[in-house]
């Protein structure tokens, strides 16, 4: 195993599988889903070493691969993994497998292309989590939009084109400014060290004057905030979620949203610590608004998918709040929330997909009394609902509790207001559950609904297992992420100190040099 470049394999195997899948003969729709499931399963199994072979305490990144990519501008193909990205990568491979398996009966037309895009998307997501070179990161970050865009646009619902284009434009609008920031940072770094490089570690090593950091931080934060998405930049999310096919929604909720928070954790926060100190209270309050706003808006949604989408806004607010608390509890809580939100919300979308397949409607008002008709479905739905609320003993509780603990340590008011989000989430989830599952059967069509098939039970079994495992014994997860998170905090704080103290001898590069200084080129 040591000789095989594990991370490259993980990134490129789904890509190769996607190409092969697309080359299958026309009409091979049934075998397409078999092959896709097999590929996703192999990918998941291949990613398992990230669980036990990543040494939590080891400094720096592991499984590192470094190859020159565009040497003349210093761009490298640099992959590496630590506790944080390892867990997120595991989440990615797991949820992709679940999504592929869950899409078996819902995608009827063009399933070759569908699964090929899903696997290509997986490659993009894993690349984003693994890469340690800013240019490469940007390449994965944006290239990933294309398969997701096509998944929403081709296999989506009524307003799919609108939702797909909106998704693409929103994310792109956020990230182009990050590209400018990356390019500018690259030149500052080149002047400082004399060696052109896009390498993340080079940027970690470079001290920056606090005054300079603000613009860079804002450019990065804007890109990531759209992806998270933070209120008020969240409006693409409900549209994308509602219109996307089930598998697309699952991946979107489980993994794509995590990329925003991951970006903060890996890039924006440690690279620009002083700007972070200035902005953290603002971002924290925006996150809190997101928590409450998402919950309140979720309460009044008539559409199940929209309700889950807004609950995502609320949960991702917890993630961001934990990060802004800037302490060990907050960070760990944020990471746990990411993982558990990925599992629970992914499962919720799958469940909505299950009843949508049977009834072709997602309106809450069209259901009621499902417990009598589909008891297995309802029981699973109950467990997932409770985990999404954050009932102690399920995965949702650990993350939210730690986030609130961390926020409380930093500022009591944050925790106080954010805690209302927990209550609100219980309100909207339980109310929704009550209207869908309990009570009398109001629609005759619902009587004929069939319960979960064996395949569907197999899809949900590992999810339920994870929900309880993460809820009852979260320690293995915390052990894996904690050292990496501690290092991030340490790095952020030491960089903040260093920049604040040695302000005077930093390179005097400002963003706004006048153009006249730099031209004067003569033959």
């Amino acid at each position: 195993m040591t000789s095989l470049p594990l991370l490259s394999f993980l990134v490129f195997f789904p890509l190769v599988a996607a190409v092969l899948l697309a080359l299958l003969p026309r009409g091979a729709e049934r075998s397409a889903r078999l092959w896709a499931t097999l590929a996703a399963a192999i990918e998941f199994v291949a990613s398992l070493p990230l669980w036990w072979r990543v040494v939590p305490g080891a400094p720096g990144f592991q499984f590192e691969e470094k190859v020159a990519w565009i040497p003349s501008i210093g761009a490298q193909y640099h992959l590496g993994v630590d506790g944080v990205s390892g867990l997120l990568a595991l989440l990615t491979t797991f949820m992709t497998f679940i999504a592929v398996l869950g899409a078996w009966s819902s995608v009827e037309k063009r399933s070759r292309e569908f699964y090929a895009l899903l696997l290509a998307l997986e490659a993009g997501m894993l690349g984003t989590f693994f890469c340690l070179d800013l240019l490469l990161f940007y390449v994965f970050w944006e290239a990933m939009l294309i398969p997701m865009y096509l998944l929403i646009g081709v296999w989506g619902g009524q307003r799919r084109v609108y939702a797909a284009v909106k998704f693409f434009l929103y994310t792109m609008a956020g990230s182009v400014l990050m590209l400018v920031a990356i390019l500018s940072l690259y030149h500052v770094q080149k002047q400082w060290s004399g060696v052109p490089s896009f390498d993340l570690t080079a940027f970690y090593a470079m001290p920056m004057a606090p005054a300079q950091q603000l613009w860079y931080f804002l450019a990065f934060a804007f890109a990531f905030a759209i992806k998270v998405p933070m209120w008020p930049l969240h409006t693409w999310l409900p549209d994308a979620h509602v219109e996307a096919p089930t598998a697309g929604s699952v991946i979107l909720a489980a993994v794509l949203l995590k990329m925003g928070a991951y970006g903060f954790l890996r890039f924006a926060m440690p690279m620009f610590p002083n700007a972070l100190m200035v902005c953290a209270p603002w971002i924290a309050w925006i996150s809190i608004i997101g928590i409450v706003y998402g919950a309140v808006v979720a309460m009044v949604q008539p559409d199940l998918k929209k309700l889950v989408a807004y609950s995502s806004v609320s949960h991702m607010g917890f993630c961001m709040l934990g990060l802004m608390a800037m302490n060990a509890q907050g960070f760990a809580g944020s990471m746990m929330t990411m993982l558990s939100h990925g599992v629970s919300t992914g499962a919720l979308f799958l469940l909505v997909g299950v009843i949508y397949e049977r009834r072709h409607t997602r309106a809450i008002a069209d259901f009621g009394g499902l417990w009598k008709v589909v008891p297995v479905f309802s029981a699973i739905f109950l467990i997932v609902t409770l985990s999404s609320i954050g009932l102690p003993g399920t995965n949702g509780f650990v993350g939210e509790f730690l986030v609130l603990l961390g926020a409380f340590k930093t500022k009591v008011a944050w925790a106080a207001v954010a805690a209302t989000g927990v209550i609100l989430s219980a309100c909207y989830m339980l109310w929704m559950f009550q209207r869908v599952v309990f009570g009398p059967i109001t629609h005759e069509e619902n009587r004929r609904m069939s319960d979960l098939t064996l395949r569907e039970r197999l899809v949900f079994a590992p999810i339920i297992l994870l929900i309880f495992w993460m809820g009852v014994a979260p320690q293995p997860f915390l052990d894996r992420m904690q050292p990496a998170l501690d290092r991030t905090i340490e790095l952020t704080q030491s960089r903040a100190m260093q920049s604040a103290m040695s302000q005077s001898d930093l390179p005097g590069v400002s963003i706004m040099t006048s153009p006249a200084d730099t031209v004067g080129v003569r033959p």
Binding site: S72, V139, V154, L183, I511, P515, V519, V521, R522
Partner: protein
């Protein structure tokens, strides 16, 4: 320039002149062949044209590392000449490939078509190789006159005639500006040699007189017209739409590259001392060009017209590289021109394949459902659109990174680069419209017929490969671009 003109013509000089000679010979042969009546359906036009282009490319490739100045320094053979000659030959060859079937189908496949194609490539090469305003003008006129005729080649179509006339009238006007500017520069400096002008302006205390300034401004105007920069872009949409599609593709890649090649030489060699004057001016023009091009393209339903406005927008990105200046800016411009040529020609290649006979379905809605009916064609068009939109992992993205990187290095983040990248977001909307039509719309009525033919498919494969490869591995082209401009500065 460290090249000393030599009185003797050496063998290397003949090789350096090879492209010019080969293309001239090629066009003459094509004309003379007309004395032998052609068999129906013969392919001698495109074949001779391809051979001439291959010979030209081979000649310049043989002496690619040499640096020579010929004819008293009027014609230089340096890195820039080599790279652009190769680029123009490649563009010409792809244009021949896409014309092969298209020209027969639309009955414009007269031998003169290929003669004009060769002479306009010749003009482009002369433009890129000139180190003298007079020869630049010569090359420009050779290219433009050939293009005027080619735009109007569908004689019995009103649209084509209108396009040609518009292009010709406005082009002639711009040539007038350019010539007047050249005259003023000559009056102000006493020479038409670019190096001479640069030296004179660098040394002389009276160099900054209004005469020279006005001359420079007029020359700039002439070229901004040729590269379709706002506010001199009015001809572009009409000429692009009216011209035969193969010509549009050729024009979008070739004429733009030639204009920028000459502009690079003039700005960086003759007028570097006026950088303070032309830089803010060009920055303004660049921002205007990007914005007007992209915003107007949003409203187009005709693909040719949309790509015309997109080509205006891309001229804006290229101007950003020129404003950035320095080796990096110039190299970024060269890089961008090569990648733009690949993706734009690729997109037009696909357009030439649409339709049977002489009808040309070129509306965005005509693409509906094509993506699943012809998966590979759909994939190729998606690739070109993604690349034109500057989204990784394609050549367009690397071009954008290098262009904006150069501008960031020159300290032009606000407002130039920010306006530029925001424009690229705007542009994504209309490029996505194409993919929406390809994959997300069902065709209304009869699906579009396609004329698949081997030469065009070959052109498609070549351009798609270049677009993808330069996006995945930009090292080779970037080094070549850097080498090509190293002698310039």
């Amino acid at each position: 320039m460290n090249v000393v003109p030599q009185p003797l013509f050496l063998a290397v000089d003949w090789w350096a002149l090879g492209p010019v000679l080969a293309l001239t010979a090629g066009s003459l042969v094509l004309l003379l062949l007309e004395f032998i009546p052609p068999r129906p359906n013969d392919n001698r036009g495109p074949i001779v044209a391809l051979l001439a282009l291959a010979a030209a490319a081979y000649a310049v490739w043989r002496v690619r590392d040499e640096k020579r100045a010929l004819f008293e320094g009027m014609f230089v053979h340096d890195g820039l000449t080599v790279l652009f000659t190769l680029l123009f030959c490649a563009i010409g060859a792809v244009a021949v490939l896409i014309s092969w079937d298209y020209a027969k189908r639309t009955r414009i496949g007269l031998p003169e078509y290929y003669v004009l194609l060769l002479t306009s490539v010749l003009g482009m090469i002369v433009m890129a190789a000139s180190n003298d305003l007079i020869t630049i003008f010569l090359g420009l006129e050779l290219m433009s006159l050939s293009l005027y005729v080619m735009v109007g080649f569908r004689r019995n179509q009103l649209e084509s005639n209108e396009a040609a006339l518009k292009y010709f009238l406005l082009g002639a006007f711009a040539s007038g500006f350019l010539l007047y500017g050249i005259a003023l520069l000559y009056g102000g400096t006493g020479t038409t040699n670019l190096q001479g002008i640069g030296d004179f302006l660098g040394d002389s205390p009276i160099g900054r007189n209004p005469l020279v300034l006005a001359g420079g401004l007029l020359v700039l105007t002439g070229f901004l017209f040729k590269v379709a920069a706002v506010p001199f872009h009015m001809w572009t949409p009409d000429a692009y739409q009216g011209a035969p599609t193969s010509v549009t593709g050729f024009m979008s890649a070739g004429a733009k590259a030639a204009g920028f090649a000459a502009l690079l030489r003039i700005l960086l060699r003759a007028l570097p001392t006026f950088a303070e004057e032309w830089q803010p001016l060009l920055a303004m023009v660049a921002m205007l060009t990007m914005t007007v091009g992209n915003v107007t393209a949003l409203l187009q339903n005709n693909l040719k017209r949309m790509l015309a406005y997109s080509s205006i927008a891309h001229a804006g990105y290229l101007l950003v590289a020129l404003v950035a200046g320095g080796t990096e800016g110039a190299a970024a411009a060269v890089f961008y021109l090569a990648t733009y040529a690949a993706m734009s020609l690729g997109a037009f290649t696909l357009l030439t394949m649409m339709g049977r006979g002489s009808d040309e379905p070129v509306l965005v809605s005509d693409l509906a459902g094509l993506g699943f009916r012809k998966p590979l064609l759909g994939l190729a068009l998606t690739l070109f659109m993604v690349s034109l939109g500057g989204i990784p992992p394609t050549a367009g993205f690397m071009g954008k990174v290098l262009v904006f990187g150069a501008a960031v290095k020159a300290g032009l983040i606000w407002p130039l680069v920010v306006v530029g990248v925001l424009n690229s977001v705007v542009s994504v909307y209309y490029y996505l419209r194409v993919t929406v039509a390809l994959y997300m719309r069902a065709p209304e009525g009869e699906p579009v017929e396609l004329s698949l033919n081997a030469p065009a498919v070959l052109a498609l494969v070549l351009t798609a490969a270049a677009t993808l490869w330069w996006g995945l591995q930009a090292q080779g082209l970037w080094l070549a671009a850097q080498r090509s401009v190293s002698g310039l500065l």
